[in-house]
Symmetry: C2
Subunit: 363 residues, 2 copies
Amino acid sequence: MENTVYNFSAGPAMLPVDVMQQAQAEFCNFNNLGVSVMELSHRSQDFISVATQAEQDLRDLMHIPDNYKVLFLQGGGRGQFAALALNLMGKNAKADYIVTGQWSKSAIAEAEKVGQVRALDGFVKAENEQGPRALATEWDLDPNAAFVHYCINETVDGIEYPFIPETGDVPLVADMSSTILSRPVDVTKFGLIYAGAQKNIGPSGLAVVIVRDDLLDQAFPNTPAIMDYAALAKADSMLNTPPTYAWYLAGLVFKWLKRQGGLTVMGERNKAKADLLYNYVDASDFYSNSVHPEARSWMNIPFQLKDDSLNEAFLAQAKAAGLVALKGHRLVGGMRASVYNAMPIEGVQALVDFMDKFAKQQG
Amino acid sequence: MENTVYNFSAGPAMLPVDVMQQAQAEFCNFNNLGVSVMELSHRSQDFISVATQAEQDLRDLMHIPDNYKVLFLQGGGRGQFAALALNLMGKNAKADYIVTGQWSKSAIAEAEKVGQVRALDGFVKAENEQGPRALATEWDLDPNAAFVHYCINETVDGIEYPFIPETGDVPLVADMSSTILSRPVDVTKFGLIYAGAQKNIGPSGLAVVIVRDDLLDQAFPNTPAIMDYAALAKADSMLNTPPTYAWYLAGLVFKWLKRQGGLTVMGERNKAKADLLYNYVDASDFYSNSVHPEARSWMNIPFQLKDDSLNEAFLAQAKAAGLVALKGHRLVGGMRASVYNAMPIEGVQALVDFMDKFAKQQG
Ligand SMILES: Cc1ncc(COP(=O)(O)O)c(C=O)c1O
Ligand SMILES: Cc1ncc(COP(=O)(O)O)c(C=O)c1O
């Protein structure tokens, strides 16, 4: 490859170029040990150093207080859909789920296997039938629910919360898969945060869970060990063999984020990237985005072409220009540009330039 | 590193040098796509080709018949301890577990959360109190059990079955984590085979499950989606984002095994490696192995020094000689040499040479 490729995949997604180059350089010989980091026993001191450093760097980046455990697990986001319900509903098997799109809906399917779930509409009524719907700020919450669950950023729909829901004494549980580390967030507002790694953390095969200590005593007794947060916390996420290589790569990403200046800097960059693309789309007659302006995602930006029959030509020409993985999710159609931390603004500019050229060419 | 390092880790374990070098070379630019294989969407045609080729190569190597599904999952071996019980005990919640060591015991802990488990002694009575115990060939099996579970190779204890237990009509379930692909095996004798990848398949974070079709209709209805074999099979293991990079590396290992000549050749090589080490240990007054000769593992070879107080010196000098990760499991003590497919016979010879030098030096 001679030319730069910009990869807009929603996940597994691109990783920072610096991270990939470092990982490649030390792929077969980590720390001069003569073996790969993926060939180390997870019980070796060499790997434990990698693991604890990664956790510390994540704690630093997100300002995670000491009364929260940080877990590095297998099972992906969907694994946590099940695990969080098994862990938090043991004492009181009911929970409220705010629904804003595909992923909050999918989370319910797993929780319903475990307890009683109420699905709450995440939107207020639109002013007119066609117009975009704004996010609700109040819901008919059950004060006796074990927790309230929501998805901060709906990866498929491109809908992101610009605020943290107020749930009183009921612990708030957040699916942060596609927005974690993209800007500062107040961890103390949450009972539990989880994220599949394959968007903003590292490769697929790893999920990160951040959970407040006092929520760790309410699991169902027959929870599978690999989903039992209390047991996993006690074993420093090494109750069984963890996905060591993914954990190591996540650590490299955390170090890279620190070098960039941390989450405040990333937030500014991500806002600039999102503004660039949304402003172009809004000014255009050829492209459109139908999400309410206040609920637009900084990470996943869906857009539609004026004429769906041009989608294939758009994708083919974009690919030829080095702009790949722009096809929208099958449930939404159109296009989607995922612009996670690792995507430089140059990539978004290249996309906008291409979109403009394509629009003019099609008239 | 100038000198060759031989890595005897029990898992995560060494991978074939050729595989690591290929993976390093194409780390940032897979198939000239300009992105890493780990940056590809699992739904992209590029990744699906990787995934289906890996499955086909594994089918070829193990001669897996068409009426078996092959799954590539997260959760490790311990995840499958839970999953297999959830999947197979839905109709008849009882199972027989043959116990031969640490891992068959651990498997029971997860199954007991799901149904009724009988633990059956895997050994016959020893002829004298001190002598090694031979593997039983008959057990008091329950003809109405949902399945019989055993661990073909006890990674910690160094005990391996040289035969396949006869269980009549009751499906046989095998933990093959530390011996899969090390020699030919008749898949048709099993209802379900599973293995954590981190010994003989690839890096950690991946488990492979091979399951007979007719066993896929008996899961408990509330089985978590990421453990639901029938749903996973229907989705070609892409019910959620799979561990794509580990899957890709497993595929490279399968191709490497084919280039070596397949499992018959590997079996011959592995027997030669094991013979070399056991013969040396048996002839020595300084080292010993206490496993019954007919139950000795080809993959994990524990041995004790005459005097435990020499263990630290042995490990330090071995490491200095490029022989790493020889410390035995904490439950067994002493040493353990794991000599999976990727370990060349030169590594075993280097170990024997070092052991001999050390023994002579200590007198
Ligand atoms: C917001 C969100 N939650 C959950 C998931 C599910 O993650 P996984 O595929 O790892 O199960 C995704 C996956 O894309 C996601 O975007
Ligand atoms: C035979 C056997 N079964 C199961 C396991 C558990 O695997 P995991 O650590 O992936 O859960 C191991 C791990 O070493 C093993 O050797």
